[in-house]
Amino acid sequence: VPAPEIPQLLEGVPDEARLVADFFADFDWEGTTLDPEAQSAEDFLRALGD
């Protein structure tokens, strides 16, 4: 049986809990979050994961 998708799991869930879920959906699980708009070229490229 396929696992339910996050939107299905969130049906009826309060907004505060959705915010937490959204955060973890976009969370960088593998290391530092990279932001090409905000980070300098040096910081961005140095943060590429090993």
């Binding site: 990279l34 090409p36 708009e37 905000a38 070229a41 040096e42 910081d43 490229l45 140095r46 590429l48």
Partner: protein, 351 residues
């Protein structure tokens, strides 16, 4: 037929720089520095003149080397505050000296910081020139005080087939037959070496390109590329490629949370010149992007082409990753990965 090596020795990661190192640097190493370096003999004759200095002074080193720096190249330095200081340095024995000065060019004045470095044999001195500020040309200077323009240093060169851009860099106008002919030559003499050769060629080219990019930005904003936001820095790289007719580079950061990002190269002049190929063939672009990214990051990075227009795809696609992840990326490409998503999956699956 004897084939050449298909790869070159690994590069050394960029390291921090100390002024005294310049005396032992090769010409290629001096050309990779983002600030000016001038080497003079005790009489002021120019012995060495690096790429950044040539670009920022808008002079061609081929016309500068061998000439007297104080009299012919930069008469604005024939003063007690500059020439006098250099001569006193030669006569003394301190290893380093440092002072501020204002260079007067006809296209503008430049506030600079000069560092003098002694060579043990004391037969030459190195001047490290760090540009601090760019200003409009000063008025009211004595005749012949400002440094000559390239056109004055080498009068009549346009009639000899010498073309230059707005920064007095000598430029060539070539059609892509040049690249096609080069590719065909390599297929004839060393077919397996094409990728390795072009990667190294692109890397060397990229080291020069970043000096040009840094000089352009320094004149414009007194900033370095690595200080710009990542996307803005890459936009400048893209502009550099587009204005040279190489094609259009687009940077896609959607995979960056997996520690990689993608570069799409549309209408690559390099890929199109290769014609049809069974494997990615834009080693020149890989090397070029790698040199630019490594310069910005002060670390080794890997740029690998995932798919190429020479294979029939609409655009060439490259992945930029940490150098340590290069083996996984390369294995995935060899195993048939043709998308950034497939590369990310391979990286996630690797231990």
């Amino acid at each position: 037929m004897t084939d050449l090596p298909t790869s070159f020795p690994p590069r050394i990661a960029p390291v921090t720089f100390s002024a005294a190192q310049v005396v032992t640097m090769s010409d290629a190493e001096l050309d990779a520095l983002p600030f000016g370096v001038i080497c003079l003999d005790p009489n002021g004759k120019v012995l060495r003149y690096n790429l950044a200095e040539a670009r920022l002074a808008r002079l061609d080193r081929a016309q500068v080397v061998g000439k007297n720096f104080f009299r012919r190249v930069a008469p604005c330095t024939a003063t007690p505050d500059f020439e006098g200081r250099v001569r006193a340095f030669f006569a003394g024995n301190q290893p380093l000296d440092r002072f501020g000065y204002l260079f007067d060019f006809k296209f503008g004045a430049q506030k600079v910081d000069i560092e003098l470095v002694r060579v043990p044999a004391n037969d030459r001195v190195y001047l490290l020139v760090n540009r601090l500020q760019f200003e409009l040309p000063r008025t009211g200077l004595p005749e012949g005080f400002a440094a000559p323009l390239q056109a004055e240093l080498a009068p009549g060169e346009a009639g000899l087939g010498v073309a230059r851009d707005a920064s007095a860099r000598r430029v060539l106008t070539l059609d892509t037959n040049f690249l096609t002919a080069l590719h065909q030559t390599w297929l004839k003499v060393a077919p397996k070496a094409w990728r390795g050769f072009t990667r190294e060629w692109g890397w060397q080219w990229g080291r020069h390109a970043v000096v040009e990019l840094e000089a352009d930005l320094l004149e414009e904003k007194t900033l370095t590329l690595r200080e710009l936001p990542m996307r803005e820095a890459m936009t400048r790289v893209s502009h550099w490629a587009t204005t040279r007719g190489l094609g259009t580079l687009r940077f896609d950061f959607t995979a960056s949370k997996h520690g990689v990002f993608a570069v799409l190269f549309e209408r690559s002049a390099v890929g199109e010149a290769v014609g049809h190929a069974d494997a990615p063939s834009c080693g020149l672009v890989e090397g070029l992007l790698e040199a630019v990214c490594e310069h910005l990051a002060h670390r080794l990075l890997a740029v690998r082409e995932v798919r190429c227009c020479a294979q029939g795809f609409d655009a060439c696609t490259f992945v930029v990753a940490s150098d340590k992840r290069a083996p996984v990326v390369e294995s995935a490409i060899k195993a048939g990965a043709e998308t950034v998503e497939a590369i990310v999956e391979a990286l996630r699956a690797s231990p």
